[in-house]
C-alpha cells in the first residue's frame, strides 16, 4: 500500500494551539459545572424518599439472596443489613457517590495511562519495528499517572471508609457485633498501612520506570546510535515483569477489594484486559486526531490497520476474559461467588442491569461488528467511533465493578458521573497534548524507524 507513496518528513513538532487548550479547559469547566450541579441535586433533591425506598429494596434483595443460597450467602445478607443499619451513612450518600466517582475515574485513567508504558514495553521486548513511527503517542500517556495517583491517594485517605468495607475497624474485633470472620482472615493483605504502601509503590515504580524510558528516548533523539535502544529493551522487559505482578495486585486492591467477601482468580487479567484495550483505543484515537490535524502523515494505512486490529482483537480478548470469569461462576453456582453477579442483575432494584449490558454492547458487539472489515480498520471515522465506544464502554465496565459495593442503591448515572468523566478526559487529553509538544513527534533516531516508515501489510 505504501510502496508507491513518498515518505513525508520526519521532522515535525506538535503545536498545542491556544484554541485547543481553550476547548479542553472549557470541557473541563463544563465537567466541573456538571459535577457541582450533580452534587447539588444529589444533596438537596428529593432523594430522601427515593433513598429510603431503594434501601428497602436493597435489604429485600439481600434477604432474597440469603434465602436462596443458604448459609454462605447469609453472611452477605447480614453484611448488607449491617450497612443499612448504619443509618448515619445514608444521610450523606451523595458524598460517598462523589468518592466513588473519583475512584472509578481514577482507577480507569490510571490504567489507560500505564498502558502507554505497557505498550512500549512489549514493543521493545518484541523488537517491533512497525510501531516506532508513532511511539511518542503511547509514550505521552503515563505523564498522567501523578495526577491519577494523587486522586486515588486523596480519595482513599478522605473517602476510603465510604468505599472500602474492609477499612471498618469493627470487622476485626473478635466477638464484636460487626466481627466478620472472612474479612478478618484477609487482614494480612487488606489493611490500611499495607494498602497505602502498595498504592504509593505502584505509582512511584510505574512513573519512575516510564520517566527513565522517556529520558532514554529523548536522548536517543539527540544523540542517536543503538545504545539507548538496547537499554530501552532491558528497561521495557523489567517493566513487564513488574507490571505482570502489579497489574494483578493493583486490580485486587483498587477494584476487587471493594466487594471484600468475593474474589475471582480471573480478576487481575480481567482488569488488565480492560485497561489494555482502553489504552489502545486512546493511542489509536490520538493518532487519528493528530493525523486529522495534519500531523503524523508518516503513519500510513498499514499502521492504522494494525492499530485497528489491536483494538478489535483486544475487545474480543476482554470479552473472552470477562466471559471466562462469568461462565465459571455461573456454571459452578457457588453462592459466595454468584452473589457478585446477582447483585448486578437483581440487587439494588435492578439498577445495574443496564450498565452491565451496556458494557457488553459497547466493548464487544459494537466494535466487533464495525471493525470487522478490512477497510474499516484504517477509515478515520470508523476508527474514531470504535475507539470512543471502547473508551466510554470501559468507563461503564469500571462503573459496574465499583459502584454496587460502594454506593449500592443510591447510585445513578447523571450530571455527577458525566461531569467527573469529562473532567478526567479533558485533563488526560491536556496532559497528552502537552507531553507531545516536548519532543519531535517522530523519534528521528529510533533504529527501527526506517522499517516503520515502510511498514506495509498490503
Amino acid at each position: 500500500m505504501a510502496s508507491g507513496h513518498s515518505i513525508p518528513s520526519i521532522e515535525e513538532r506538535f503545536e498545542f494551539t491556544s484554541g485547543a487548550k481553550r476547548s479542553l479547559l472549557i470541557g473541563g469547566g463544563v465537567g466541573l459545572a456538571l459535577v457541582l450541579l450533580g452534587a447539588y441535586l444529589a444533596a438537596n433533591g428529593g432523594g430522601g424518599h427515593e433513598v429510603a425506598a431503594h434501601g428497602a429494596e436493597h435489604a429485600a434483595a439481600a434477604g432474597h439472596a440469603a434465602a436462596e443460597h443458604g448459609a454462605a450467602a447469609a453472611a452477605h445478607g447480614a453484611d448488607a443489613h449491617g450497612a443499612a443499619a448504619e443509618g448515619g451513612h445514608h444521610a450523606k450518600s451523595w458524598v460517598a457517590r462523589i468518592w466513588a466517582n473519583l475512584w472509578v475515574n481514577g482507577v480507569y485513567f490510571t490504567g489507560m495511562s500505564v498502558v502507554g508504558m505497557f505498550f512500549l514495553s512489549y514493543n521493545y521486548l518484541a523488537q517491533a519495528g512497525w510501531s516506532a513511527v508513532f511511539k511518542r503517542v503511547p509514550e505521552a500517556l503515563p505523564a498522567f499517572l501523578p495526577f491519577t495517583g494523587a486522586v486515588l491517594l486523596i480519595t482513599f485517605l478522605l473517602g476510603g471508609h465510604d468505599l472500602f468495607h474492609w477499612t471498618h475497624k469493627g470487622l476485626y474485633e473478635v466477638g464484636g457485633a460487626e466481627y466478620d470472620k472472612i474479612i478478618a482472615g484477609k487482614q494480612g493483605y487488606l489493611n490500611t498501612p499495607f494498602f497505602l504502601g502498595r498504592l504509593v509503590i505502584y505509582f512511584v515504580v510505574w512513573y519512575l520506570m516510564w520517566k527513565k524510558l522517556r529520558n532514554l528516548s529523548l536522548q536517543e533523539d539527540e544523540i542517536g546510535g543503538t545504545e539507548f535502544y538496547e537499554k530501552s529493551i532491558r528497561l521495557g522487559t523489567a517493566f513487564l515483569v513488574v507490571f505482570g505482578v502489579t497489574s494483578s495486585t493493583s486490580a485486587w486492591d483498587f477494584v476487587m477489594s471493594i466487594d471484600t467477601h468475593w474474589f475471582s482468580t480471573m480478576f487481575g487479567w480481567y482488569t488488565l484486559a480492560s485497561w489494555h484495550v482502553a489504552g489502545l483505543a486512546v493511542i489509536t484515537l490520538t493518532i487519528v486526531l493528530l493525523r486529522e490535524r495534519g500531523y503524523l502523515r508518516a503513519v500510513n494505512s498499514s499502521h492504522l490497520r494494525d492499530l485497528g486490529k489491536f483494538v478489535f482483537a483486544f475487545s474480543i480478548f476482554w470479552t473472552y476474559v470477562w466471559f471466562a470469569q462469568f461462565l465459571l461462576i455461573y456454571y459452578a453456582n457457588l453462592p459466595e461467588e454468584t452473589i457478585y453477579f446477582i447483585e448486578r442483575f437483581r440487587g439494588h432494584g435492578g439498577f445495574y442491569k443496564a450498565p452491565f449490558f451496556i458494557t457488553l454492547f459497547l466493548n464487544f458487539f459494537f466494535p466487533f461488528l464495525i471493525l470487522m472489515t478490512r477497510d474499516a480498520k484504517f477509515t478515520h471515522s470508523i476508527l474514531k467511533v470504535a475507539c470512543w465506544s471502547v473508551i466510554v464502554g470501559h468507563w461503564f465496565d469500571f462503573y459496574t465493578n465499583v459502584m454496587p459495593g460502594t454506593v449500592g442503591a443510591e447510585a445513578s448515572i447523571g450530571p455527577l458521573e458525566w461531569g467527573f468523566f469529562l473532567i478526567f478526559l479533558c485533563a488526560f487529553a491536556y496532559t497528552i497534548a502537552n507531553q507531545l509538544t516536548k519532543a519531535n513527534l517522530i523519534p528521528r533516531n529510533h533504529p527501527m524507524l526506517e522499517e516503520s516508515l515502510h511498514h506495509d501489510i498490503a
Binding site: M1, S3, G4, L327, Y330, Y331, N333, A458
Partner: protein
C-alpha cells in the same frame, strides 16, 4: 479447470525486485498479465497486478454466521425441546452454557467453509486432475509471469520483447 486452458507466454525472472518493477512497466505497455508466481510473498505485488480484492472475507463471515446459528439451533432444540434436560441446576435453555460450543461451531464452519471455497475456486482438491504448471521453478528460485495470449491483442514477438526488456531471463511458450 477450463479457464486456464489456452496458449501462454511465460516470463522467467531471477529476482523479486525485477519482477515487481516489471509488472507496472508491462501493464503500462498494454500487456495483460494473468498471474505472477513466486516462491514467497512479494510486498506490493497484488496492487501492482491490479487484481480485484479477494472476497473470501465475506464468505468467511457468512460461514461464521451459519455456524453460529446452526449450533445455537442444535443446542436449543435438543436441550430445550427434543429432550429437555436440566444440567447443573440451569434452565434447559440457558444461553451462557451454549456460548463455548457456539464459538467452536462458528470457528469450525468458518474454517471448513473457507478451505472448501478455496479449493473449489482454485480447482484443487479431490477429483480434480487438471493442474497446469507454468514453470516448476516457481516453487524454488524463480519468479514466473504468465501471460495469456487470447486475452492480449499484441503479437507474440511484441510481448516477448517487452518481457525481455523488463528483465526476464527466458520467455517460454506453454500450451494447456
Amino acid at each position: 479447470m477450463a479457464e486456464l486452458s489456452g496458449k501462454y507466454l511465460v516470463g522467467v525472472y531471477d529476482d523479486d525486485d525485477t519482477v515487481l518493477h516489471a509488472v507496472p512497466k508491462l501493464r503500462k505497455a498494454g500487456v495483460k498479465i494473468k498471474e505472477v508466481y513466486s516462491p514467497f510473498p512479494i510486498h506490493g505485488l497484488d496492487e501492482a497486478l491490479g487484481h480485484p480484492r479477494t472476497r473470501i472475507g465475506i464468505a468467511a463471515f457468512m460461514f461464521g454466521v451459519t455456524g453460529c446459528c446452526a449450533v445455537l439451533t442444535l443446542m436449543i432444540w435438543t436441550m430445550g425441546y427434543d429432550w429437555p434436560m436440566i444440567i447443573g441446576g440451569k434452565d434447559p435453555i440457558s444461553i451462557p452454557n451454549y456460548i463455548p460450543i457456539t464459538f467452536e461451531g462458528t470457528v469450525l464452519f468458518t474454517a471448513f467453509g473457507m478451505v472448501t471455497t478455496f479449493l473449489i475456486s482454485n480447482g484443487l482438491g479431490p477429483g480434480t486432475h487438471f493442474h497446469p504448471r507454468f514453470d516448476v521453478r516457481a516453487t524454488d528460485n524463480k519468479f514466473i509471469m504468465a501471460i495469456e495470449m487470447s486475452r492480449n491483442s499484441m503479437s507474440e514477438e511484441e510481448i516477448s520483447r517487452a518481457l525481455k526488456d523488463s528483465g526476464a531471463e527466458e520467455v517460454n511458450i506453454k500450451q494447456f
